[in-house]
């Protein structure tokens, strides 16, 4: 048995899984021909056996995350607030719809895990009409939640089957109210994990709730300076096999969102170097500066067709460049960060196993010079031992 109070933390990623005890940390490439639990117990059975189920804590991003479609009535409030809450709950946004133009949107054909409808402060009424219900009828979704004006609730209930009604996420001063929607989405993620065969078997080895990895990482950020020489404001890039997560200090955005969170999260769903390799290459080819970057790295675009260690390195470097581009004013996105104000860039995830600090700084410096025409040089920190998710998992465990 494990020593008293000793915990085992496990992170199941799309490509690797990692185990951390107080003594050491190990990671293994996943065998995709096996169930996750079988693979885990085959490779690390001796460690897992040492721990009681109550002392094992697992986080996972391997279920792919949830997809959401948000329908709101303005970009600056309802859509932005709902997107912010969804991102911070570990959800991958697939689309947003501005209600006034709803008839112009083509409904996505994929199954959507959750549709979020939002709009109006509680004293505002007559916001939604038949066009909303017609659009919803054309969608294929599993859950739907309404978090808008309470005056709209009777009509919403009458017209939308199985809709979950939660308190408005916009208060009467136009401020964000996160609590209820965040709790709902976090629970939905939990249900999704429990529903997925591959993940739910993991409850055989833990008696604790399995959380999403980005949620755990976000929990670690206020305490990150205990492990690293990080100077605020900073961004944390988690470039993995399937997705890229960005956690950023709120000081880096000019924002009308007032919350207690010091850090927010953003995810680029199809930006990764293993499962999302093809979409990463596609995004790279669409970027007008990529060929200069390849020249800078002394390779040609033929590297995209290679399956070598060098090709993986180049893809990782491209991923860093593309992520920074997407967050800069060069590309209009959900948010644009004040990249010239960043003091530190922290990198975690699979990228830390592929690139060294010089290779990363080379790309960051290229980005600043080329895109922002600046010599700004934020300190680069590599979380090579996955200290950040261990820290987050411990903080979460202490809070329970």
């Amino acid at each position: 048995m494990s020593r008293e109070n000793e915990k085992l933390f496990i992170d199941i990623g799309s490509t690797y899984f990692k185990l951390s005890t107080s003594e050491h940390l190990e990671q293994h490439f996943r065998n995709f021909n096996k169930d996750i639990l079988d693979d885990l117990t085959h490779k690390c059975g001796n460690i897992i056996k040492r721990f009681d189920k109550n002392d094992v804590h697992i986080c996972s991003s391997a279920n792919g995350g949830l997809s959401a479609l948000i329908i709101g009535i303005s970009q600056s409030f309802s859509l932005k607030y709902a997107a912010n809450i969804a991102f911070n709950s570990g959800i991958n946004i697939i689309d947003t719809v501005l209600y006034q133009n709803i008839e112009e949107y083509t409904p996505p054909s994929d199954l959507i895990d959750v549709v979020i409808v939002v709009g109006g402060i509680n004293s505002h009424d007559n916001i939604f009409s038949a066009s909303l219900y017609q659009y919803l009828a054309s969608l294929n979704y599993s859950n739907i939640v309404f978090v808008g004006s309470e005056k709209e609730v009777p009509a919403i209930k009458d017209n939308i089957e199985n809709v979950v009604i939660l308190p408005n996420i916009i208060d009467d001063r136009l401020h964000i109210v996160e609590k209820y929607l965040k709790e709902f989405l976090t629970n939905l993620y939990q249900q999704d994990i429990e529903g997925k065969e591959d993940i739910k078997h993991l409850y055989d080895i833990t008696a604790n709730q399995i959380f999403s990895t980005p949620y755990i990482v976000n929990k670690a950020l206020p305490f990150i300076d205990a492990r690293f020489s990080v100077v605020n404001p900073f961004i944390l890039l988690d470039i993995g096999g399937a997705t890229t997560d960005i956690h950023y200090s709120k000081d880096l955005v000019d924002d009308n969102i007032v919350t207690e969170n010091e850090y927010d999260r953003l995810v680029f769903k199809k930006l990764g170097v293993y499962k999302s390799r093809q979409s990463l290459i596609f995004a790279a080819k669409e970027n007008e500066f990529v060929y200069e970057l390849l020249m800078h790295l002394k390779v040609t675009e033929n590297i995209f067709d290679e399956e070598s260690e060098k090709a993986t390195k180049i893809l990782m470097q491209l991923a860093i460049f593309l992520v920074l581009c997407k967050m800069s004013h060069y590309k209009k996105a959900y948010i644009n960060l004040k990249l010239l104000a960043i003091n530190s860039i922290v990198l975690t995830g699979g990228i830390t196993k592929v690139l060294n600090i010089d290779e990363i700084e080379n790309i960051i410096s290229f980005f600043y010079k080329k895109i922002l025409t600046s010599d700004h040089s934020p300190a680069t920190i590599l979380d090579s031992n996955y200290d950040i998710w261990t820290l987050g998992a411990k903080e979460k465990e202490l809070c329970q």
């Binding site: 009535i73 409030f77 136009l174």
Partner: protein, 141 residues
């Protein structure tokens, strides 16, 4: 009646903004104060979210003009704001200028009421008159 107010653009004159907020409340308006450094799009979005009838923009450092030029174009993108009463007040130009020219220019930008260097209460009186009569009874100056 609901009023959206705030200071447009890169302008941090928070005291005037607060005075406008308090004065509007004292006159019985329901005020949604977006504060300083507010983008034009946020004003319109706030009107959509609240169902406000009046949008009152203030500016003290003359920056308003750069933003005001975008008003018509941006407002046209919104489908529910045709009835919104648009008002702007404060120091609306850099340096000095002829008030009549300034008022006329801002009305061309899409404002119903323009109060350049006008006392706050006089400006709010003109808003009330506009609301009551459905048109401007008297010019701010």
């Amino acid at each position: 009646m609901k009023v959206i107010t705030g200071v447009v653009g890169n302008d941090i004159h928070v005291v005037a903004n607060r005075l406008i907020d308090l004065s509007l409340q004292a006159r019985g308006y329901e005020v949604f104060n977006l504060g300083v450094n507010t983008y034009l799009e946020e004003f319109f979005d706030a009107a959509v979210e609240t169902g406000a009838e009046v949008l009152m923009i203030s500016s003290l450092n003359g920056e308003a003009e750069g933003w005001a030029r975008e008003v018509k174009l941006l407002k046209a993108k919104y489908k529910q704001l045709d009835e919104l009463i648009m008002m702007i007040g404060g120091n609306l130009v850099v340096g000095s200028g002829n008030t009549e020219d300034i008022v006329s220019r801002y009305k061309n930008y899409g404002f119903d009421l323009v109060c350049h260097q006008v006392d706050l209460n006089t400006g709010l009186d003109s808003l009330e008159a506009f609301i009551n009569d459905g048109k401007i009874k008297e010019r701010c100056q």
